[in-house]
Amino acid sequence: MHLDPCGAIMDYVRDPYNVPVKPFANSDTQVTLSWRPASPDADVFEEQHQFTSLFHSHFPWADDGQVGEVFDPSIYHGGLRPVNRWWNNLPALDYDVGLTPCEPLEAFRQGETFDPLRPAAEYNEDGFPRCCLAYFKPRLGVVWGMRSVVSVVSPLVPNTCGGAGGAPLGVTVEAILPAGAIYWYRLGILSGAHRYHIRYGFPLPSGGVQWTCTPWAVQCLIASGPSDFGTIEEERDITVFTSPTDLSFYLFNPDGANAHSFRFKLTIT
């Protein structure tokens, strides 16, 4: 089975549990699925799909062989009301956020195509698909106004967030910091005080992280200038002197080529 939402929220239930599912469109093969709590920052899987919890189904017994959770009469009283579940108490993973499912989205509605010759999916020590993690590394997702991903670009290509002439603030950028530096710019920031908020994921590079924006010496000022961040979450003020100003934001990984990649999330308001 290769179908996996890669950390996206598939449904809301009180506790995670194990359940048999039918994942394939062209086979009745069943596998045991283990639901896991989503990370606090996880987004929901927004496509119409079949892999939901039967908890919310008005007619969980109405099983006509479709993909998704398999109705198990043994945990229902008379087949009507759930009396038991195989609770698994699995923990959330702190890195399963912002990933892209490896299978096409349509497979979450129609089922995965069963191919006995296809190599088995690989999982890490947490039981998380390695395919999901491989998909994330080269990408930078820009979340516009905390609603949806509007573009995906290479982390080494400057990204314009907003547009000329007083670009709206409140933009959140989620990305992974590779060995070296990452930067992007915003056009037309008006003069005045702004604040950026940055949150880091683990593991932090051993040398910390350096942050600056340019041309900070003449046009913008970060509260205490470029600094090393050892904290997980931090807020800093930016003062822009000339309006409008095009600012470039740089995030440096001082460990260079030997640094670890790690996740961060930046919000500018």
């Binding site: 929220i9 119409q48 919310h56 109405a62 009507l80």
Partner: protein
């Protein structure tokens, strides 16, 4: 038209709950997400501080022919709709009961709304909608959303008998698997029901003795006069016939929604608290 279920997932200070609404429409859930979004905004205005509409969920529950299905679902989380920051929320076990009525007033369904403003409930449990400034307008907007302003006329799924009035169970057999196969009078099940799963009720079987079979069951319909339970059940041998009712389901659209009053219901396990061992109960 399919029957759609819209579920709002709420979160309070330490408890969560859901509320569900039903309406009819197309099988494309992209049309229904904005409807539930509109309802969620109006409902959130009636929430107290520290309460929020955490997520929205739409799903297909009945197909175009009113057959129960396990249809697709679609989720939305952002934006989160927060309650009124100026109004403390009532206790988690306290709620306002809404009564949904059909046009003829012959059927009704109750909705229990948790997370309401504390000020609209007196200490002795009376509903005082005039005590909260803005409550009346927010409630009117919410009811209006449910009665069509959202783009859907909300109702509920009701069930009624489908089988002939004189349908009977004339025999049954406990199979090796433990499941019970009922034999019924001819044509208790219609042709299209054969091969499907149905919700039935058995009553009066083996009268005057009591039988574990006299209750509701989910069965697989084997033919027009036989059906088998989907779970095993241990029953005494057949003695005398009983009545069989096959349930059908239909969406009943609400024409009126009334504010009934404050009621109290126990709350479930607090959020983020793991399941533990059940508390010991007294013996005997």
């Amino acid at each position: 038209m399919a029957t759609i279920k819209g579920t709002l997932i709420f979160r309070g200070t330490d408890h969560g709950w859901t509320e569900s609404y039903f309406w009819s429409g197309t099988n494309n859930l992209n049309f229904h997400t904005p409807i539930l979004d509109f309802i969620a905004q109006k409902r959130a205005a009636l929430l107290g501080n520290d309460c929020e509409v955490r997520a929205r969920r739409v799903s297909i529950e009945l197909d175009d022919a009113n057959n129960p299905v396990r249809g697709d679902a679609q989720l939305r989380r952002k934006p989160v709709y927060f309650g009124n920051p100026d109004q403390p929320a009532a206790a988690p076990g306290t709620g306002l009961q809404l009564r949904f009525e059909n046009a003829a007033g012959t059927n009704h369904k109750n909705l229990f709304m948790r997370g309401i403003w504390d000020v609209v409930e007196t200490t002795d449990g009376q509903y005082q909608p005039g005590a909260g400034a803005g409550w009346g307008g927010a409630m009117a907007a919410f009811i209006s959303a449910l009665l069509g302003a959202s783009g859907a006329n909300v109702g509920w799924i009701a069930r009624g008998p489908l089988s002939p009035a004189n349908a009977q169970v004339v025999d049954y057999l406990e199979e090796d698997s433990g499941q019970v196969t009922f034999t019924t009078t001819a044509d208790a099940f219609t042709g299209p029901m054969v091969g499907t799963r149905r919700h039935i009720r058995i009553s009066g079987i083996n009268a005057p003795t009591k039988s574990v079979l006299n209750r509701e069951w989910v069965v697989d319909v084997l033919s027009t006069n036989s059906a088998r339970t989907i779970v095993p059940v241990s029953a005494f041998p057949f003695l005398s016939p009983g009545k069989l009712t096959v349930y059908g389901f239909v969406l009943v659209v609400a024409a009126n929604i009334l504010e009934e009053g404050i009621i109290f219901r126990s709350v479930g396990r607090p959020l983020l608290v793991r399941r533990g061992r059940q508390a010991r109960r007294p013996l005997g």
